[in-house]
Assembly symmetry: C2
Amino acid sequence: MMKQKDINIPFCDNCPVNKTGVFRHLSKDEIDIINFEKDFRLYKRGTVLYTENSRISGFYCINKGIIKVFKTGIDGKEQIIRFAKPGDIIAYRSVLSNEPACTSAKVIEDARVCFIPAHILTDFVNKNPLFSMEVMKLTCHELGEANEYITDIAQKTVRERLAEVLLILIDDFGLDNDSYLQISLTREELANIVGTATESVIRLLSEFKSDNIIQLNGRKIKIIDQKALKKISNVFS
Amino acid sequence: MMKQKDINIPFCDNCPVNKTGVFRHLSKDEIDIINFEKDFRLYKRGTVLYTENSRISGFYCINKGIIKVFKTGIDGKEQIIRFAKPGDIIAYRSVLSNEPACTSAKVIEDARVCFIPAHILTDFVNKNPLFSMEVMKLTCHELGEANEYITDIAQKTVRERLAEVLLILIDDFGLDNDSYLQISLTREELANIVGTATESVIRLLSEFKSDNIIQLNGRKIKIIDQKALKKISNVFS
DNA sequence: CGGTACGTTGAGTCATATCAACCATAGTGG
DNA sequence: CCACTATGGTTGATATGACTCAACGTACCG
């Protein structure tokens, strides 16, 4: 226990993740089990957590930082499927369906991550219906988002999608006091979310800039006109 | 009970669906409950089972026929997400996540369908861990497929995707003795899977035809050279 | 017989990908 | 300290895949 304190391992029972996330219906005892069995890890930007087609012996719970989850397509081009941020869990799909990972995961922003052995997830799912239902809801929610994504990519133009991606990023990571987007991505990464070429993202971003919708400082993107983005993206919500 | 026999309602306990599908771990008693509570329905081609954004009071189990599950995008253009065939269940996502449906469902080929009230699904998930795990696996599997789909649409050309869709249809619905694809779709429906314009599908199909990869008899598609399709689609499996 | 839905083909356009050159920055090693 | 290299960003020129629009053919149906 001292050791945990020494290197600043987060204790599960006061981890903010518990209050809101998928773990919210676990008992004190169950949380303690996770706390005991989990393996805490620090990852620098660029580190790969796991790769496609590999078998994984557990799942990851993000305490801090940002992870990108992606598939590798033609010519090794990455397609970013989603981001994981504090409170999110990743690789659970592979554990539950007992299949090899269908995605890879890489650190975007230095991260603190807990690795939790697979048997805990399956045990709890079997023994705790409330938890099970929570995991199910999470999966179903992700499935719904994936379906949305499919429709968008299939039907919208790159321009529309880029605007939409910016809106999603604003939603997920927020803006700081100066309206700067709180996640920093390379142009290539942006392209790999939108599903387009790096050059196209660059061109469209500078178009948005000349239209006074955003401002650009290197990788930092300042959002000026969110309404305009909504209009471009064809999202009316 | 006589009534069931009269109009040919399938009994759940000898429904082939039980052996392989998500229901395989239900007890005799549980199956009986479904059999008692389910509502059997016949649907003609074109019938809509449910639509996007509606609340659904249960889920559907397909006994016969084919259903298309789709989202409605820009200008009402459909994006087909998947097909449901005998043994598949649909709308369970909406029930489990307690969200409105994120898709619509329409009959492609005259269907026999059982409608099962929502509470049965949630009850069984809560009480029967094996069933719960089975549902979870199903969801996770669909999620994996959705991710695959996203990557394909984002990175492949229409030509590649059309070839891949044909392969998937062969996999899912099989070929008859004359190598004809066992599902009949309009050109527009094909386009709505691939995520392209109807005209593009038509042009590419006749290209495949002149390359002796397929033959066309109206909506019937005869598969001549599956290897060529694999090559075109960039799938090496 | 007209109507409706589906299929086909052609022509023109445009968005986006590709290819290539170039700049900026930062880290590396001699 | 200076090449050296790698990585990321930008811009321009060019090519082309795919969409749109439009016309027309076909088949089935009441």
